[in-house]
């Protein structure tokens, strides 16, 4: 399965995402709306999307849209434990994305009917995906609100301890490939091309990745 970002609603560049008409002309895609918008607005937009599978990042929208579509809870919601899964199950979600940092403990997640999606290939960042406000703090460009990241993490930083500089560092996102099994394995390609690819099962022969 391929997923595509809806322009104005998906995180990361609007130049790579697609308009509603373009998306509705595609077949077999899941649509990502993972930028912060009020729940009612997301619900309204989801009504206009012909596809049955969306990836959402807002609690009210997850609960509401789940009544009519398959909803995957975006990695931006930062589900890190079974209580999170329990809550999203209660809201009616179809699947939950687990942060790539937790791939090594994916077997500890109790699915109970919920699908788990993991990153088989991900840019592991300074903070959990969806929990970073560094760009907004430094430059006012907000990933969560406007889908734009100024990549402050990649700068050179002086590490100062007890008033003295001890070294320099940076926190550039690292492309990491995992050997991990789950219901869905996503291969993050956002910085390489406009579409990401989800394969159904890590060992699928039909993988397009």
């Amino acid at each position: 399965m391929k997923f595509v970002g809806l322009r104005g609603y998906s995180r990361y560049s609007d130049t790579k995402s697609l308009s509603l008409d373009e998306i509705n002309n595609l077949e077999d895609v899941a649509v990502t709306l993972n930028r912060v918008r009020d729940g009612d607005e997301i619900v309204e937009v989801c009504r206009k999307i012909k596809h049955e599978h969306v990836i959402l990042n807002e609690l009210y929208a997850i609960a509401s849209v789940s009544k009519s579509k398959k909803v995957t809870v975006s990695v931006g919601m930062n589900a890190t434990n079974n209580l999170d899964l329990e809550f999203y199950r209660e809201l009616g979600a179809h699947a939950v994305v687990i942060p790539p940092e937790l791939n090594y403990e994916v077997e500890s997640f109790q699915k109970k009917g919920l699908k788990i999606e993991v990153f088989g290939r991900a840019f592991v960042e300074m903070f959990y995906k969806g929990r970073c406000q560094l760009s907004a703090y430094a430059s006012g460009k907000s990933v969560k609100k406007s889908g734009v990241c100024n990549m402050e993490c990649a700068k050179k930083w002086d590490v100062v301890y007890s008033g003295k500089k001890i070294c320099e560092t940076d926190f550039k996102p690292e492309l990491t490939v995992y050997d991990v099994q789950a219901d869905y394995v996503k291969h993050e390609t956002r910085q390489i091309k406009g579409e990401g690819v989800i394969e159904n099962g890590a060992d699928s022969k039909h993988s397009q990745s």
Partner: protein, 288 residues
């Protein structure tokens, strides 16, 4: 107006440091290993709650901000005790929040600033399942926060202190322990900062905080619609909580004081910022 602050361990609980506040959040939500962390187990949490009650203060208990499955036993232990003795439980994790509202429906549940509450619709949903107070996502403007308040839920805003700019999987202090020559938990006894040109960050446990102090002293009237003002002090040195709390208590009761404001400036090692309240970059300070 309720004035609140947070305290990580019993050692930081001097009478002076608590006096200016109406309510105290107990525990260090960014790191289990922090020395004496009130929410990491042991008897200190019940002693701390008792102490606050003797002083006539509300005792709220924070929970670990990014709990993984292996952390849940410790989280449940703190919640069970908090439900029995305290006046409220703060959660930054949505699963933990829902667990508390289900298991302890009479408990005051507070969604912390790292719970990613960005919209009025999310606030409304949380309110409907029993969350009674929300600290909106730090990244929101005053207008966005007012919309959350309109849902009927109580709103608490940070008026002073360092707010998280991100939370992750690892502690960055530990990453530099060999360069520093100190291991966890001793390494966070002294302050570490990351500096790049005019940008300063303070790593602490799983969180990385704004190096500058968010300061709304000059703009406090713009936040008067809130139910509570928070001084973020959980990672601060001895004395910070007491001095900042006294100044904001004076502000609430007696109004603006130039000398108090100058004292605030002298306490802040990296300067002030307004955070995101004015829809600007978080590190900018707009004078009142």
């Amino acid at each position: 107006m309720e004035l609140t602050a947070n305290i990580p361990n019993l050692e930081s609980m001097s009478e002076c440091s608590i006096k200016p506040y109406d309510s105290i959040y107990l525990g260090m939500p960014y790191c289990w290993e922090y020395e004496g962390n009130l929410i990491a187990g042991g008897d200190d949490l019940s002693s701390a709650i008792e102490l606050l009650h003797v002083m006539g203060k509300n005792a709220y208990v924070s929970t670990f901000a990014v709990p993984r499955n292996k952390d849940l036993k410790r989280v449940f232990r703190a919640i069970d005790l908090a439900a029995e003795m305290s006046d409220g439980i703060e959660a930054n994790n949505l699963g933990v929040m829902r667990y508390v509202t289900k298991e302890y429906p009479d408990m005051k549940v507070i969604a912390g600033g790292l719970a990613n509450v960005y919209t009025a619709s999310t606030a409304e949903l949380l309110y409907s399942i029993g969350v009674s107070r929300i600290v909106p996502a730090y990244e929101l403007s005053i207008e966005d926060i007012e919309k959350i308040k309109e849902t009927g839920v109580e709103v608490e805003v940070v008026v002073h202190g360092k707010v998280p700019v991100g939370i992750g999987h690892e502690c960055f202090l530990k990453k530099f322990s060999s360069a520093v020559g100190k291991e966890c938990p001793k390494i966070c006894r002294e302050e570490m900062f990351f500096r790049s040109e005019d940008l300063v960050l303070k790593p602490f446990g799983h969180a990385t905080l704004s190096g500058k102090d968010i300061c709304m002293y000059e703009h406090i009237d713009k936040l008067k619609f809130a139910d509570a003002f928070r001084i973020e002090a959980v990672t601060e040195r001895i004395g910070y909580r007491e001095r900042i709390g006294r100044i904001y208590r004076n502000l609430i009761e007696r109004g603006f004081s130039r000398s108090d404001f100058e004292e605030l400036r002298s306490i802040s090692e990296n300067g002030f910022a307004n955070g995101y309240y004015f829809n600007k970059a978080g590190q900018i300070y707009i004078p009142g």
